[in-house]
Amino acid sequence: MNALWVILFASVMYLFGYLIYSRYIADRVFGLDEERTTPAKELEDGIDYVPTNRWILLGHHFTSITGAGPIVGPAIALIWGWVPALLWVVLGAVFIGAVHDFGALFVSVRNRGKSIGTILGDFVGERVRLLFLLLILALAVLVNAVFAYVIAKLFVAYPSSVIPAWGVIPLALLFGYAVYRRSANFVILTLISLILLYALIGVGKYVPLDISPVAQTLGLSPIMLWIVLLFIYTFFASSLPVWLLLQPRDFLNGIQLIVILTALYVGALLWQPQIVAPALRVSPEGAPPIFPFLFITIACGALSGFHALVSSGTTSKQLANEKDARVVGYLGFLGESSLAVAVIIACAAGIAIFDADKFHQIYASWGEAKKSALLAVVEGGSNLITAIGLSKELAITMISTMVVLFSATTMDTSVRIQRYILNELGVSYNLNPLKNKWLASGVAVITSMALVLSKEGGKGGMIFWPVFGAANQMLAGLALLVAVVYLRSVKRPTAPFLVPLIGILAITSTAMFMNLTGNLAKGDYLLASVSGVILLLEVLIVLESVRALNRGLQGAGA
């Protein structure tokens, strides 16, 4: 089948979601009111609270929520065939993921732009807020473990990406400094930085940096050496004020994301590749059952709890009009989902443009798919963008650099979030050592590094991916819970949030239970205990949710 049909199906569903379903949620469920003053206007302060044009805010929100998550998940999930992956990404986004983001944004806007954690404390109870913090902590440890592996794997597989990926740091510093000095026109500065970034990609192609000789001398595998180096970098980047100087990188990355997404779709439209992946494979070799594991393998792109942090953290304070929440919250998520669709096209169709057999080599078994799914993205993605006139080598360097950059910013942010949460727990429970920023960063980095290195010297980092997906969706469950409790308190219909909430809790707990028992039987105690921790948090959340909903019912009855 031609990949164009995939694009057509996704576009039609997205249009339905945006034009019909999101409008139903906005008018019938939320009752958005354009006359109501938003926090951005009420508390305007020129920095945190600023009414912003909705399309610009959409650009900011979309590029903040989209990282490397929607790239890795769908690539692995193709092992079960392209149809289930596509259906879950598109329908999940339209009916669950985008609704979740829209809901988190709405609840935050109605509560003076407070973050989801604070609103949870106010509406559901302090104990749930603590669970929320612990869940983010667990999620951040898993994010670091997985993305450190992703970056290390790409650096080893494509040494040409090393120079551009690290070169962006001094480039971003120079750009930030130039903007600060206002020595030149902003548009020109941005253009120069982008040209320099692409020049670095060109340099990377001619000067690949392979660290295997150094790793051999030290007696380590190259992947392990990169992982250690990455964590050393992250430790300093997240604790020193340097992170402030690294901010311009996010700006350049945001623009990159839009460039690369456009290039992938233009490539797909020009090549019109045939899909070589099987439509459905019920039991591929070594893979866990498609239900429930497909649903937790693809989290970002279909439903992601991390977005609620962005929706309620920064975006809700910038919304000029309540009605804009639909454009920013709902459409922003569809943007992320469209990246997941592009990845599915790249891996299921783009990959076979030059080598028809490549797909079957990578997706021969579950073990192989988990190890090599990233390579499928780089291969397939670079094949697609050769349509715009790039040489294959240059396209490979470009795609691998982008995936590294997105993963690196995700990792930086996640270590910083871990540090803040440890600090907050230190203050709440009066644990002095945790209040120290160096120690908190150290704990964050060491736990993640121990997790990834304990699996075959870093080679098995991807083994934690399904657990990461489950934790991410449970976090989404908490935001859905807040929306249900809030909507109930203002006597509005709750079904569009309650049904996904029950579904998500059921799917993630089944998956984690199966992961726990399966790994215990295999004797893999590390993975079993990680799944156990997540399952325990899950049970507590379910209990608290039931309590909160019961209380809401009694309150409504009284």
């Binding site: 920095i47 610009i56 996010d250 920064t314």
Partner: protein, 80 residues
């Protein structure tokens, strides 16, 4: 909207905001030093900074509102 304007807004949201927040923190501390007398902390440099007052009077209004004082907390500065 002009392209340059779009890009600048995007810049403000992506990282300009962080820098502004940092510089505002510094500003808050600076004001606290300037007016520490009125909060019970002796300020030995009081006479030397009097000269700065005309330059900061507009920011002073914003500052006291941010600190939660609806009206000027200092009786001889009638900014509102």
């Amino acid at each position: 909207m002009r392209f340059a304007k779009v890009l600048e807004e995007f810049y403000r949201l992506k990282f300009g905001q962080t820098f502004l927040r940092e510089s505002r923190t510094l500003e808050e501390v600076f004001f606290l030093f300037l007016f520490s007398d009125y909060f019970g902390v002796p300020n030995t440099l009081k006479f030397y900074i009097l000269e700065a007052f005309p330059y900061i009077i507009e920011d002073f209004h914003e500052w006291h509102k941010r600190q939660g004082f609806e009206r000027s907390p200092i009786e001889w500065i009638k900014c509102c």
